[in-house]
């Protein structure tokens, strides 16, 4: 599939501090790509470089398979960190500036304001808006040029649960229109709910990149408990059990060879153990994320 964004060995140094270290990524058309990482992991710096507001130290990147120019930024709708607008101008005037810079028709403004439900407030000054409204105006501004790619940086930061839900619905709707979205977030759950692909950054290093759907595949952890005292030994002797851990009086067995809970139950039964508790642990992105961060700590 066509690449929307290719990053090759991108590095940004601030003096001795390396904010982004040798980062390479590839985003294809139609992806909803999550960049996940704790605060200070280099997400915003990376996006800033991609949008030409931050100068890179080395490496390069391509938008739409071509070297970056300002004309490409006009095809991208992007908001970094907080919503940035002229506080003394109305929502409409602010979007007018964006539309004129991007060369988009001014007739796009009203529909996008309706889409983010700010149409009734379009003549009010930006500074009178609540944080949720400001975030929604950001999304409207990113949509005003009918972009091929949207870049959203912490779009739900500081919002209440209802605001978060609204923004996520909005993003999912936009993704359903077939737009490519690059979403930076420190919220795992957000990436898991919204994205198709994700990458994990830490201190400017890429720890992992893959499909969100793959998170549930691969390693299966099954919680087992039984009255039988030999449970642990039997589990350890099982050929498709990789590891056994004790957790709150239960044993967690990590299975291999695509085996499932059913298989371990069968095996235990054949070895004369009846189980009182059997549960497949759903591996959340959070767990995987924490594991990745922990792994990188020990390296």
């Amino acid at each position: 599939m066509e690449s929307v964004l290719t990053i090759n060995n991108l590095t940004k140094k601030y003096g001795r501090l390396t904010a982004v270290n040798n980062l390479s990524l590839d985003v294809k058309r139609g992806d909803v790509f999550g960049i996940l990482g704790p605060n200070g992991s280099g997400k915003t710096t990376t996006l800033g470089i991609l949008l030409d507001v931050i100068k890179r130290t080395s490496g390069d990147f391509q938008w739409f398979d071509k070297p970056p120019t300002k004309e490409m930024r006009k095809r991208i709708g992007a908001i970094l960190e907080t919503p940035i607008f002229y506080p003394y101008l109305s929502a409409t005037k602010n979007l007018e500036i964006v539309a004129k810079i991007k060369g988009a028709p001014l007739s796009n403004i009203d529909p996008v304001l309706k889409k983010v439900e700010l149409y009734e407030r379009k003549d009010d000054k930006f500074r009178t808006f609540s944080l949720g409204m400001k975030q929604r105006l950001s999304i409207a501004s990113a949509l005003v040029c009918d972009p091929e790619v949207m870049i959203l940086d912490e779009p739900t930061n500081g919002l209440d649960p209802q605001g978060i839900a609204e923004i996520r619905e909005l993003i999912k709707g936009i993704a359903a229109d077939g737009k490519t979205i690059i979403l930076a977030s420190h919220l795992l759950d957000e990436v898991q709910k919204v994205c198709t692909h994700f990458a994990v950054l830490k201190k400017g290093n890429l720890l992992y990149t893959g499909l969100v759907d793959d998170i549930d595949k691969g390693i299966v952890n099954v919680e087992v408990a039984s009255e039988e005292t030999t449970l642990k030994e039997v589990l350890e002797s099982c050929p498709f059990v990789e590891k056994v851990k004790e957790e709150d009086g239960k044993y967690v067995a990590q299975l291999s060879d695509d085996k499932q809970a059913m298989d371990i139950n069968k095996y235990l039964f054949e070895h004369g153990i009846g189980v009182s508790h059997l549960l497949t642990q759903k591996k959340s992105l959070e767990k995987q994320f924490l594991e990745l961060l922990a792994e990188s700590e020990t390296v």
């Binding site: 949008l51 930024r73 002229y86 003394y88 060369g103």
Partner: protein
């Protein structure tokens, strides 16, 4: 992007910015108000003096053609700091609101940003010069006792020098804002820069004294010489000093290049 488009974008930013309009209107009032104030002052002198003097202050040709052009434009060059404050505020806002960053993200190049601000500065300087031209023309027509038509525009080139002086100072203010980013700090630096420059010039070693005239604000102010000693029967240069027009234009070019390279090399 073409200049007109860039200008229009910058004007949308300023359209609802009240401080911008208030300061501009005040500046306009000052331009119109100074000749009117001088006239009233002369009339007052006339009134209190009429009992014991033959001398009629209204006969001093300060606001008569052709003296008026140099006299007023010289005085107006002292007002440029007010207009510079408007420029400093509107540009430092772009940095403090981070809107310059968003402009770039949206698709401006750094040069586009620079040119959009320069276009506004040019229009403001031009409008101000036009107002000066009209004010001087009307004042001169009303108060010059007798003149020939040829005298009216004799010295109008001082308005051109006023334009270059104002445009140059506003570009200088733009340059300082891009360096300092904070409005209060920039205004402070603008206020103290000129005295510092003067002190520096007066302390140049003898062999380098000739350089003093080529410092940026000194060169700009050299275009229009102080006109008033002529009323004390001293010789003055009652024409625009062309070599310094050249030097001023050169400085404007250097400052614009300085702004460009600063914008180009920095993270926003």
């Amino acid at each position: 992007m073409n200049l007109i488009k860039l200008l229009k974008i910058d004007l949308i930013k300023l359209s609802n910015y009240r401080a911008f309009w208030v300061l501009n209107i005040l500046y306009g009032l000052l331009i119109v108000g100074i000749p009117a104030g001088v006239i009233e002052f002369l009339k007052w002198l006339d009134r209190i003096g009429e009992d014991f003097s033959e001398f009629n202050p209204m006969k001093i040709p300060v606001l008569h053609f052709p003296d008026i052009w140099q006299n007023t434009t010289y005085v107006y060059t002292w007002l440029k700091i007010f207009m510079a404050i408007i420029i400093v505020i509107s540009i430092s806002n772009e940095f403090s609101y981070k809107t310059v960053r968003q402009n770039i993200i949206d698709g401006f190049s750094r040069l586009d940003f620079l040119m959009s601000k320069l276009a506004t500065i040019f229009v403001m300087s031009f409008a101000s010069s036009l107002l000066v031209l009209i004010t001087c023309l009307l004042t001169g027509l009303i108060y010059t006792p007798e003149f020939e038509f040829g005298d009216v525009f004799n010295g109008v080139e001082f308005v051109g020098a006023y334009f270059i002086d104002l445009f140059g100072f506003l570009v200088f203010a733009f340059f300082m804002t891009v360096l300092m980013k904070r409005s209060a700090l920039t205004v402070f630096m603008l206020l103290i820069y000129r005295p510092v420059e003067l002190i520096f010039i007066s302390n140049l070693p003898r062999q380098l004294e000739f350089l003093g005239d080529y410092f940026p604000l000194q060169a700009m102010s050299n275009m229009i010489e102080v006109p008033f000693p002529r009323y004390a029967f001293q010789e003055i240069q009652d024409y625009v000093v062309m070599p310094f027009v050249g030097v001023s234009l050169l400085w404007i070019g250097i400052l614009i290049y300085g702004i460009y390279s600063k914008l180009k090399s920095s993270d926003l």
